[in-house]
Amino acid sequence: MGMWLFLITEILLFSGMFVAYTVYRVWHPEVFDMSAELLDWRLGGLNTLVLLASSLTVALSIHYIQNDNRKGLLINLIITLVCAGIFMTVKYFEYTGKFAHGVFPGANFAPHGVANGHDYAAFNVPYAAQFFSIYFVMTGIHGVHVLVGMGVFTWIIIRARKGHFSSEYYTPVELTGLYWHLVDIIWIFLFPLLYLI
């Protein structure tokens, strides 16, 4: 129950940013449409698949430990951790790609150069900076959550290797799984809002 309440606070934490997104989108829809082109939906889509896969493996790991299958638990937890790692790696390339062309959040926003058929300088219009500020803040804070999740998974894996869990006691696995599903769900909202529409 404590975990569920914590997840509610997490949703509210992100809700503030979703509100900011909505407000600016309503005010400047055309800028947001245009700026979203700079985000590569293929990379975003890849990350979505990776995260969805990791959600599956977390669910599987809980299923296995319920049946006292410790090996299945361990394998699935490790796959989850690897998926999270892939997600962050892709994010890293996305971020550095943006930074290379001067797409920084806020006042340092100064797009330049040409890449992937986009003339970055053309995106230097009013309020495009806001879009990228919101993009960086939302995905950044989401990324922090992924990193925290990776830390917790590492701890869970170490405990799983020591054989701490069984069908009698697997609360930490279950709670971490809940947290991880939430991180996934938030991404599932972030992806279409930022990349697709």
Partner: protein, 597 residues
């Protein structure tokens, strides 16, 4: 002072029955309690002196304790220090305002002092005051539980709170903050260096608030003693429960607001900064979406304390128990829908102003229900004017004034005139200080014997109540007048026609401070010289008073309480869950000679 023999006690009861004009039923209960007191006194237990305070005296056992009672006491010490610091700042602010022009300090220092006063009082003192101090101490006892649901989390939230306050203080020492406690953009983005520290500190302290709220919600759901149904919960528990919901739902929003403000300053992300195309009014929306519910985080626990005091010292069940309980939840819910009334002049649309204004009136209904029920509780009760009850009565007066002026400020046309004047300052001081601080003091005097095992002296405590009540009104009622005449808040200087009222307000602040120091001194002296407190000095009916004083360690009750009655069934108070010798003898003891003393 417990009764050494039966005779004086019987005398006291006879006197008290006469003095109050109580009916036979009451008299019977009292005799019951008197005989039992004798029983308790004679059957002294060899280990009775071992309790949660003295079972392990090392510093480490305090700093790393998982005991909710000790954590509550650590909060009490920290929060009191914050109150002292904020209070001293307030005295300086008032002293500067005693005369027009420069009196003590320059304008910049003045701006910093009132900002720090606000930030410390709101984030370091009032928000954790009743929930973290009394909530921690009393809530598990009210539930008949061994501890809160997550004791480690509880300790963690204390240290997170301390860390947050430390970061805020670092900001104070290494820079300056003169934004007021509201950090309105764009000013807060352009000025001072330590807004960064302070927003970070507020963010961290917010986590402590979230974790405490989360802990309490789970505790109330999962840790109730057998037989303690929702309708038998003391009203203090209900109000803490409602508070916790607000804490859990609202605090993350201030968290993200502070993060965005932090990033705004660090990276200039341009969400709130108009020079980059951002919208400062959006900041106000975010800020008040938390900070208005936060007002109910501050006041709801006070309602709970007052309900306890009213019932105990009127010796009647709280009138309309369910109404009072659910009005707390209603206030918590409505509190989320009124943030816009802080922004009537910030350029929001007329329609939303009207809607926010209407919902603001609605909040008056559950609040009015509470006040009427408290007054109704005293009606035909035998009111016993001990110090905690005096605080409760002071609360009724001051909070009612604060509440009514709140409704006045919710009226659109009036608010445009009074916005950002001393009227607003006086209003929220009547609610926050006249409401919450008075209730906290009342609660402190009520639970003090339970917490420390010592009785304080009654006469100085009463003088302190009088000084606080008079000083408070002199300080802040004058500000209502100043505000209605147009004195703007936060100003360093003012026109000569306001001079006499400003001076009066400053004199009031000295009376108020004298009262507070007297109350604090009296309590502190009682730690060393106070008489040993009996188990139930007030004849209260909630579970914590059925326990020995102070509570045993490690667990709160020597026997698991099985609850068979409501929290205010004073005629059924005969159970004891932690008694001496375990003979089940009730240890209720009358303190003093009753209501006429």
């Amino acid at each position: 002072m417990s009764c050494a023999s039966a005779a004086p006690c019987e005398d006291a009861i006879a006197r008290c029955a006469r003095g109050r004009g109580t009916n036979n039923k009451n008299l019977m209960i009292m005799s019951n309690t008197a005989t039992s007191a004798v029983g308790a006194a004679t059957g002294a237990h060899p280990h009775a002196s071992l309790n949660y305070i003295n079972h392990d005296k090392s510093l480490k056992s305090w700093l790393l304790t998982l005991d909710h009672k000790r954590i509550g006491i650590m909060y009490m010490v920290t929060v009191s220090l914050a109150f002292l610091a904020g209070g001293i700042l307030a005295l300086f602010v008032r002293a500067e305002l005693i005369a027009p022009g420069r009196t003590l300090m320059d304008a910049h220092t003045y701006n910093q002092l009132f900002s720090l006063h606000g930030i410390i009082m709101v984030f370091a003192f009032i928000i954790p005051s009743i929930p973290a101090v009394m909530g921690n101490f009393v809530l598990p006892l009210h539930l008949g539980a061994k501890d809160v649901a997550f004791p480690r989390l509880n300790l963690a939230s204390y240290y997170i709170y301390v860390l947050g306050i430390a970061i805020v203080l670092m900001g104070m020492f290494f820079g300056s903050v003169d934004t007021g406690w509201t950090f309105y953009t764009p000013y807060s983005e352009t000025v001072g260096t330590s807004v960064l520290f302070v927003t970070l500190g507020v963010f961290v302290a917010g986590f402590s608030s979230i974790l405490t709220g989360l802990n309490f919600i789970v505790t109330v759901h999962k840790m109730r003693a057998p037989g303690l149904t929702w309708n038998r919960l003391p009203l203090f528990v209900w109000s803490i429960y409602a508070t916790s919901i607000v804490q859990v739902l609202a605090t993350p929003v201030i968290g993200i607001t502070m993060v965005l403000l932090f990033l705004e300053r660090l990276l200039h992300i341009g969400i709130f900064d108009p020079s980059l195309g951002g919208d400062p009014v959006l900041f106000q929306h975010f800020f008040w979406f938390y900070s208005h519910p936060a007002v109910y985080i501050m006041i709801l626990p006070a309602f709970g304390v007052i309900s306890e005091l009213m019932a105990t010292f009127s010796r009647r069940p709280v009138m309309g128990y369910q109404f009072v309980a659910l009005s707390s939840v209603a206030i918590a819910f409505l509190g989320f829908l009124v943030w816009g009334h802080h922004m009537f002049v910030s350029g929001q649309s007329a329609v939303s102003s009207i809607v926010f204004s209407l919902i603001t009136y609605l909040i008056g209904i559950p609040t009015g229900v509470k006040v009427i029920n408290w007054v109704g509780t005293m009606y035909k009760g035998s009111v016993w004017l001990r110090t905690p009850m005096l605080y409760a009565l002071a609360f009724l007066f001051l909070f009612s004034i604060g509440g009514f002026t709140g409704i006045m400020l919710g009226v659109l046309a009036i608010d445009v005139h009074l916005h950002d004047t001393y009227f607003v300052v006086a209003h929220f001081h009547y609610v926050m200080m006249g409401g919450t601080v008075i209730a906290a003091l009342g609660g402190l005097h009520y639970w003090w014997p339970k917490i420390t095992g010592r009785m304080y002296k009654e006469t100085p405590a009463r003088i302190a109540v009088a000084l606080i009540f008079i000083g408070f009104n002199v300080t802040f009622f004058t500000q209502f007048i100043l505000g209605s005449q147009g004195m703007p808040r936060r100003y360093y200087d003012y026109l000569p026609e306001f001079a006499s009222l400003h001076a009066l307000s400053t004199y009031g602040s000295w009376i108020l401070a004298a009262g507070l120091f007297l109350a604090a001194g009296n309590l502190l002296v009682s730690l060393f010289r106070g008489a040993k407190a009996p188990a139930n000095p007030w004849g209260a009916a909630t579970l914590e008073w059925t326990d020995t004083t102070p509570m045993p360690d490690p667990h709160n009750f020597k026997r698991m309480p099985i609850v068979t009655r409501g929290p205010y069934d004073f005629h059924l108070v005969d159970d004891l869950f932690s008694g001496d010798g375990g003979d089940g003898a009730p240890a209720t003891t009358l303190q003093g000679a009753g209501p006429t003393s």
